[in-house]
Assembly symmetry: C2
Homo-oligomer: 310 residues x 2
């Protein structure tokens, strides 16, 4: 065995890569995700693309340890995808289906959990075995790794930390139909929502009044010492710190690795959260480290490859 493939299936593109067994990325590429007809072409497109790459690089099947695949939806330990709305998929098992198409071992897991595994293998969490990855993107995702293994959960809903309930007084609905979930405050959308509320509630001067309010604009303003933006960061930080304190009371990780689009703002996203984490966390869990994710959009293909080798 010399190589392993990693596949990260998103709603618009499928990211793919192959690695040597030490985890060095040799090549990566993308194909479009064909979600029409309930996404029935997605797995065969992936199989064709992998076969084409193997031909291009003269890789023999006997040299490939297998293919790992991350899917945006709940996945149980045996690789059963319960549903993947953004792909048009109902219940299916890529371990079997893609495995047959390629005649190679295939391992499937949830995309957020796979990204967590990637960050543990070659990213911000390298060297740790008890780690929680937190993805601050359009939503808030999580991947909880204990003893080097991702917690999938009995319905593939392990690590759904964005839906920890934190606010009884929330009137707006979360994507999950709940009210007051962590995701409503700590995602990119959540930060914009907090900012717009603050802007509407006061006449305080702010650079945020001058252009489109985005999560990036908020963090840029925080760095420029804009008072209102700093208030927004405080609200974000208190909810996120409280949520991660709850995660710590359950899993007591050594390290949190913070990734996703929001984390591109840098360590400032940790600085405004950590004091609240320390305020709300159980004493025995307070010394958790916080670092930024390192692999960006490649975390998924790294982690998918690691799934096969784990």
């Amino acid at each position: 065995m010399k190589y392993v493939f990693g596949v990260d299936v998103g709603g618009t593109t499928v990211k793919m890569g192959y690695f040597d067994l030490e985890g060095n990325l040799i090549d990566k590429w993308e194909i479009p995700t064909r979600t029409e007809d309930n996404g029935k072409n997605i797995l065969s497109d992936i199989a064709k693309s992998i076969t084409a790459k193997m031909n291009e690089k003269s890789i023999d099947k006997a040299e490939v340890a297998g293919v790992g695949i991350g899917v945006p939806g709940p996945v149980t330990d045996d690789g059963t995808v319960l549903v993947a709305v953004n792909l048009g998929w109902g219940r299916c098992n890529p371990n079997d289906e893609l495995g047959k198409l390629l005649d190679m071992p295939v391992k499937t897991a949830n995309d957020a959990n796979v990204a967590a595994l990637g960050e543990m293998w070659k990213g911000g969490g390298t060297g740790y075995k008890d780690m929680v990855a937190v993805t601050l993107g359009t939503g808030v995702g999580g991947g909880v790794i204990i003893g080097g293994k991702v917690i999938s959960g009995s319905n593939g809903a392990g690590g759904e930390i964005g839906h920890i309930h934190l606010e009884d007084n929330e009137t707006e609905e979360c994507g999950c139909k709940g009210h007051g979930c962590l995701e409503q405050y700590a995602s990119a959308t959540g930060i914009v929502r907090i900012a717009n509320k603050k802007l509407a509630a006061s006449d305080k001067a702010s650079v945020l009044r001058d252009g489109e309010v985005t999560a990036k604009a908020v963090w840029d303003a925080v760095k420029a010492k804009d008072e209102l933006a700093i208030e927004v960061a405080g609200v974000y930080g208190e909810y996120l710190g409280k949520g991660l304190a709850a995660v710590a009371a359950v899993a007591n990780p050594e390290i949190f690795v913070i990734g996703g689009g929001v984390s591109k703002a840098g360590t400032v996203v940790i600085e405004y959260m950590q004091p609240y984490f320390e305020k709300y966390a159980f004493p025995g869990t307070k010394n958790a480290k916080f670092v930024l994710a390192k692999l960006g959009n490649d975390a998924g293909i790294y982690g998918a490859a690691k799934l096969v080798l784990a």
Copy 2:
């Protein structure tokens, strides 16, 4: 190998038992916990008691798989006790120390986690592998089991679910020095606290005005349809449901097993919580089952024995 010993070390007594390898309890007994001199006699007392029992029952060392031991404090995966305040212990490792005294394999873990393992093996969670045990006693403890293995956490603080922060407006301090922990509402002490507040805040008639307010008295009054007691149960249920929903968003267990002194009131302790769990839980985690623990005070010796066999 024919037998395995299980030891549950408490602040006043050490519970001990031995089992066949299928988990049938053959005999159990107790010895006092000698906490004086920083608890330096506890492990040698245990060793002597096990040796005496082996002599009494003509058990040969070669017939014993080992000794499991549950300790009231944080314990890491290698059996290191970080501290056990109620025993007078600082950092120590009973795997090594008791192992030397007995010349047998010894495995140590946190007492709540060990009790969880016992309930999974032979109690309310039999047949399940992704399980959370919740102990509603003087405090609120937890044991999170994933794939049949207890999550100890990097500092032995895995499953400290009683210290999930739930209430920003709490003025009283929790035992952990935090404010608004689950334990402040769902423990026996917490229920009494809620009841006393309700009694002081209104003139509503209640049987709770007639005697000592204990958790048992509250649940008896709930069963007798006492309105004020039902309000107390509602407050307890909302906090516990919210806390367990957070646990479910992290670990997505198949089943919660509810034990501890408070649970002696019966399924009523689940009935007042479950609607709130369903209100606050992420959809993919809502179908978790809830059952009562079955082993009572013996859960610890069962789980300690299972530690050795796991």
